[in-house]
């Protein structure tokens, strides 16, 4: 039985799973049949079809739900001719610029803070409560205060996004630092490493996979703060574009903007996963 089950499912080398006899709980990537990805593709197609169908049958007035074709047309025209004085690309670049500026700021502050939390008790005592305080506040809540303090210019918008990114970066860094194996640190010290060298040559690289995970979560958090950040006195940006369109009930631009934001988020996520694979190929292989 062991032999046959082994040859039937090369992915499984133990027969403990067999004794449990819960076949549905076995992860079996090599089994024939539907993959999760195929199911996802079908789901998306079904949603699109339902959307198109309801638009065709005019179940909902176009001002509430424009047809996929209308949204696509808007995508083409806004890309070419622009909307509220900027093309789609210019809006996207403005938004991406803010998010990346915020990311740089969040990394510059969050990584050292995370290191401090992970390495020293005093650091943890100082920063942990501050982060725990900041983390659950929705961006729209601190937006007014940021505007009162820093005005309505570009720095405020970047700051709002950066605040949303800070906690994920710092906390992921801290958990990465705390997860560094003591043996690795001891080995480095016995090879003559000073405290600073241990941080630079052992702790930081060991925590890098966690830091990158934090970066990925932060980028998601920052990107979803975009519309809030562009609520006030923006002249460009995807969030600004959606709000302007909403004020004039140009629903097809609103929907198009939402889809573009989602698509960019997807691409960012995908890109960072690729970067992770290149930068920390050892993660999960130890």
């Amino acid at each position: 039985m062991t032999v046959t089950s082994y040859t039937e499912r090369p992915g499984h080398k133990t027969d403990e799973a067999d004794s449990l006899s819960v076949p549905w709980s076995r992860p079996s990537p090599k089994r024939k049949g539907v993959s999760a990805r195929a199911v996802s593709a079908v789901t998306i197609l079904v949603v699109l079809a339902l959307w198109a169908l309801s638009a065709r049958l005019q179940l909902v007035p176009p001002v509430f739900l424009p047809s996929p074709a209308a949204v696509w047309t808007k995508f083409v025209t806004v890309t070419r001719d622009g909307f509220v004085d900027a093309t789609l690309l210019q809006h996207a670049v403005a938004s991406l610029g803010r998010v990346f500026a915020a990311l740089v700021a969040a990394l510059a502050i969050g990584v050292p803070v995370g290191l401090a939390i992970g390495i020293s008790t005093v650091g943890r005592g100082i920063f942990d409560p501050l982060l725990e305080f900041l983390r659950p506040i929705p961006p729209l809540a601190y937006l007014p205060l940021v505007i009162i303090w820093f005005g309505i210019g570009e720095p405020s918008k970047i700051l709002v996004i950066a605040i949303a990114m800070l906690a994920p970066v710092a906390l992921s860094t801290a958990s990465g630092v705390r997860g560094v194996s003591q043996e690795r640190i001891n080995a480095a010290r016995s090879l003559g490493a000073t405290r600073a060298q241990v941080v630079r040559h052992v702790i930081l690289p060991s925590a890098l996979p966690s830091i990158l995970t934090g970066l990925r979560i932060a980028l998601g958090a920052g990107w979803s703060t975009l519309v809030a950040a562009e609520l006030v006195a923006a002249t460009r940006g995807l969030g600004f574009m959606i709000q302007s369109a909403a004020q004039f009930l140009v629903t097809d631009v609103v929907v198009m903007g939402i889809l573009v934001i989602a698509a960019i988020a997807f691409v960012l996520e995908f890109t960072i996963r690729r970067i992770e694979r290149v930068l920390v190929p050892w993660a999960g292989r130890e």
């Binding site: 001891n186 080995a187 480095a188 016995s190 000073t194 052992v202």
Partner: protein, 263 residues
């Protein structure tokens, strides 16, 4: 053993180790003296404090009483004069095998070309000539321990502290690694302090075996087997192990380890 130290010596003098929150000391009044060129092996049942003693020598654990010193200077922190090799190699997975070996040299700010040259020499010494560019996760357990040994030797230590370095390896790899260890020991003239669970391993490698018993950890016997000297002077490891004297020593050592068992 009080003495004027001229040769390099790693000395634990009546060392007691007491961990916080434990009623009994882990180790009580243990003295061990490792001279350069010695291969001292600590054996004993679980809980006898072998690894604790090694950590005191490494400077990772401070003794509650007694004194740990190297060349007459007290040991207060880890140092590259006593490089440690751990059971779970503790290699750095973001570096290649060569970069791991060169780690101590990098800490000292030695130029990359020189680092690579030294590292390749050491990789050759541990018989991993072609593995320099490999990533750690591409290496087998035995190869990883070889990299770990080469990395420790790169620090040019006077003493090597080995904490069950072969413990995680399969029996065949272990056997081959024993001769590798002996070759390194003879080639590098370091003093070795090693912890092991393997009785045969202790006999093959040690110039001196210190048998410890638990509760609290203390020295019960000391052997000077001399088989490793025979290997160093050219005798084959197979011949040594087939010698009736080896079997006799094995029986004696086993008895010594389990002596306190009944008590």
């Amino acid at each position: 053993m009080p003495h004027l130290v001229l040769d390099p010596h790693l000395v634990l003098d009546k060392v007691s180790i007491h961990y916080d929150g434990q009623a009994e000391p882990a180790v009580e009044r243990v003295s061990i003296d490792v001279a350069k060129g010695d291969f001292v092996v600590l054996v004993g049942r679980s809980g006898c404090g072998k690894t604790s003693l090694l950590n005191v020598a490494a400077g990772l654990v401070a003794p509650a009483r007694g004194r740990a010193s190297i060349n007459g200077k007290p040991i207060t922190a880890p140092g590259s004069d006593r490089a440690v090799v751990f059971q779970n190699d503790a290699l750095f997975p973001w570096l290649t095998a060569r970069e791991n070996v060169a780690f101590a040299l990098r800490l000292r700010g030695i130029r990359p070309a020189e680092r690579a040259r030294r590292a390749d020499e050491l990789l050759e010494l541990v018989k991993l000539t072609d593995a320099g560019d490999k990533h750690i996760w591409e290496l087998s357990g035995g190869m990883r321990q070889r990299v770990g040994l080469a990395r420790a030797l790169a620090a040019e230590p006077e003493f090597l502290l080995l904490d069950e370095p072969l413990g995680a390896l399969d029996a065949l790899t272990r056997e081959r690694m024993q001769t590798t260890l002996l070759d390194l020991w003879t080639a590098s003239h370091v003093g070795v302090l090693m912890v092991t669970h393997g009785i045969e391993e202790a006999l093959v490698l040690a110039t001196r075996i210190v048998v410890l018993a638990p509760g609290p950890g203390r020295v019960v016997r000391t052997f000077e087997p001399g088989f490793s000297r025979r290997y160093a002077s050219g005798e084959a490891i197979r011949t040594i192990k087939a010698d009736p004297a080896f079997a006799a020593a094995r029986g004696e050592l086993t008895d010594a380890i389990f002596e306190g068992e009944a008590a």
